[in-house]
């Protein structure tokens, strides 16, 4: 019973990792950029939900929609201002810009809202039991919303025109634009969806761990990035799988081995995956063009 309980704990944190990893993987898939500012979008999303619930008194679901929208816009603005001018520049320039954007967002928030952690409003209370297994509503909500969004994303990518455009641009940007696909618009949409998902991830994360501070996105973003790499960066199902593997590995290590070994084991998995399959579990092997 304890084992299933721990599995649920792992799924809960893992599904949030997965949501955030999706943003990393989508952006990487389409512009080959590791968007380090993505972790900080989580933080921005949490702050938006915090203020919208506490100061404006909106319910959680409206706040989440607001955070999704605002962060989607923020993602697009960041892309337009910081990354687009560097699209033809060497990849390292864009990478360093991403780190710069991340530091900028953190410090703007630190100056505006002070570095002290703030309590996050109570979203949903209580537990329910399935047999002898006890699940909190927070956990159920987290897993539920994450799964829903992942399904929605799959539908968008596989079934809609926008999704088709995204797949085309990620395969070959030049050819896609020759076929009449608006590449800039597609990239913007990708950033918008990725950032929106990060905002929801942030809100769910804060509902489960109710303290918000300007640096909360840094470590969490890094772990989500590792999840994306384990799953195979660029692959959407890979990001989901990677997130769940990370979450479950963390919670099982804490429960059955030792909390001191958590990070060693999680990052150990990353090393093993990269040794065995450098492109990640579900990543495609890309042949170098010579």
């Amino acid at each position: 019973m304890n084992f299933i309980q721990q599995l649920i704990n792992g799924l809960s944190i893992g599904s949030v990792y997965a949501l955030v990893a999706l943003g990393y993987t989508m952006v990487y898939g389409i512009v080959k950029l590791i968007n380090f500012a993505h972790g900080d979008i989580i933080m921005v999303g949490s702050y938006i939900v915090l203020f919208s619930m506490k100061s404006a008194g909106f319910p959680f679901w409206i706040s989440i929609l607001g955070a999704f929208t605002l962060c989607a816009i923020l993602g697009v603005v960041i892309e337009r201002v910081a990354y687009k001018p560097l699209r033809q520049a060497p990849r390292i320039s864009a990478l360093i810009t991403a780190i710069g954007v991340s530091i900028l967002i953190q410090n703007v928030f630190m100056l505006s809202f002070k570095p002290d952690p703030r309590p996050f409003p109570n979203v949903i209370d209580g537990n329910f039991g399935i047999g002898s297994i006890n699940v909190s509503y927070t956990t159920a909500l987290t897993i539920g919303i994450s799964v829903l969004l992942m399904i929605l994303l799959q539908l968008i990518v596989k079934k809609t025109k926008v999704g088709k455009a995204m797949r085309a641009v990620s395969e070959d940007e030049g050819a896609a634009s020759l076929m009449g696909i608006n590449v800039n618009r597609t990239i913007s949409i990708t950033f918008a969806i990725g950032s929106g998902l990060a905002a929801v991830g942030g809100a769910l994360y804060s509902a489960a761990y109710p303290l918000v501070d300007p640096f909360m996105g840094a470590m969490f973003g890094l772990k989500a990035f590792v999840a994306a790499v384990i799953g195979g960066i660029g692959s959407i199902p890979g990001a989901i799988l990677g997130g769940l593997i990370m979450g479950i590995a963390e919670s099982m290590t804490k429960a059955y081995i030792s909390s001191q070994l958590t990070d060693i084991i999680v990052f150990g998995i990353l090393i093993v995956v990269l040794l065995v399959k450098p492109s990640g579990i579900m990543g495609k092997n890309v042949k170098e063009k010579v």
Partner: protein, 404 residues
């Protein structure tokens, strides 16, 4: 290139400024020496101790004023400032209190100490506030024999670095011991679990002492789990603990972590009485849902509903000055400053050795109890056990050192 030149100019500017500053200080010192010949001797053996000759006594404060632990540093330093404002100076001179931020970081704390001693020429140090920076400051202060009191550094090793290092609060193991004795004897609980931060000396010190004492008193420890500094998820450990169903859960850590753990204790449906240490002070400011910590006990240095006139006087003045209720950190900061001022008055000088000697023989009544120091320069005083009732801290029991 442009940047380099600018940097060079700036550096040159700083050198010129500091040179001017030095000569300025030098002349005024000579002038004063000519007037008061007797004090020059004193001045020569206490290396560079200009404070004897100026009309102010400088005391340096070190604490985290920004970052996660900012609330502690600000409160402790406010308390110290209040005691200094209240004192009308010492030895007929004004006291100037200079505070530097250590951000809760060891390196920053050492830098702050060096700045205090080299640039500000302070006579004594109040700080640092948290345990690890306090230990770093203690190591540095021990080399110069600067009188130092950490108001709130509870780690056992801090005072072991030098004869000149004191503390105004009790130690980590002492807290663990008191709360374990309280759980076993006063609450009559039989089983306990502990969840502690393995990256924090404070947390480990409390946890180990709790375990030993609770077992000595006939209780059994059914869960002993740990986590690390960056952790936000404790559900795995708490699920393990919940399956053992302990009577009490001891969480020795600072308030922001306690807020996260308390939420997850409820999530995993663990129904134990929560026990904590002085790091819990201010916990209600970061817990959105007060029911999470309702009924929890923690030990603290003082209680606002203590009827002692000294305590009530302090609370009134603190509220007048800062407009908020003082917590234990403010009270300890206040007491630390009081200890230093008292020692300087008793010694009749700011000479380092004399002040240290006077501190060792301290016997004053302060806000956090009447204070004497033992051989390890830890205070011997009583402990207040508080309970959180309706989101308020209520004095539950006062334990004297002899009760343990």
């Amino acid at each position: 290139m442009k940047l380099k030149r600018l940097a060079a100019l700036l550096t040159a500017g700083i050198f010129v400024l500091s040179a001017v500053g030095c000569t300025g200080g030098e002349t005024s010192k000579d002038d004063l020496n000519a007037d008061s010949g007797t004090q020059t001797e004193n001045n020569n053996d206490g290396n560079n101790n200009t404070s004897d000759n100026s009309d102010t006594i400088k005391i340096g404060g070190i604490g985290p004023l920004t970052g996660e632990l900012a609330m502690y540093g600000t409160n402790a330093m406010n308390g110290a400032q209040l005691a200094i404002n209240e004192s009308d100076g010492a030895l007929g001179k004004k006291i100037e209190f200079i505070i530097l931020d250590d951000k809760g970081d060891i390196t920053e704390a050492t830098n702050a100490y060096n700045k205090h001693v080299n640039n500000n020429e302070v006579s004594a140090i109040i700080g640092a506030v948290t345990s690890q920076p306090s230990a770093a400051v203690a190591v540095a202060a021990a080399k110069d024999n600067t009188p130092m009191i950490t108001p709130t550094g509870t780690a056992i090793d801090i005072t072991t670095y030098g004869e000149n290092v004191f503390r105004a609060c009790y130690t980590d193991p002492f807290q663990g011991k008191v709360i374990a004795a309280f759980a076993a004897s006063s609450l009559e609980k039989k089983t306990a679990a502990v969840i502690y931060n393995k990256d924090s000396d404070y947390s480990i010190g409390c946890a180990e002492a709790f375990k030993t004492t609770f077992e000595e008193k006939g209780g059994s420890i059914v869960g002993y789990e740990s986590y690390s500094n960056s952790d936000k998820d404790f559900k795995s450990q708490l699920t393990n603990i919940a399956s053992k169903n302990p009577d009490v859960l001891f969480i020795p850590d600072y308030y922001s972590v306690v807020a996260l753990i308390a939420k997850q204790v409820k999530d995993v449906n663990l129904k134990a009485v929560l026990l904590g240490t002085d790091g819990w002070d201010s916990v209600h400011s970061v817990v959105e849902d007060p029911s999470l910590i309702e009924g929890a006990f923690f030990c603290n240095h003082y209680s606002p509903d203590d009827t002692d006139p000294e305590v009530q006087n302090f609370i009134t003045k603190y509220k007048e000055t800062y407009g908020s209720e003082p917590n234990a950190f403010a009270a300890l900061g206040y007491d630390a400053a009081k200890l230093i001022i008292n020692a300087i008055e008793t010694a009749g000088t700011t000479d380092k050795e004399a002040v240290v000697e006077a501190l060792k023989n301290t016997d004053i009544s302060a806000v956090t109890g009447s204070i004497k120091f033992d051989e390890e320069r830890n205070p011997i005083k009583s402990v207040s056990i508080l309970q959180i009732q309706n989101g308020q801290y209520k004095m539950y029991e006062k334990l004297n050192p002899s009760d343990l």
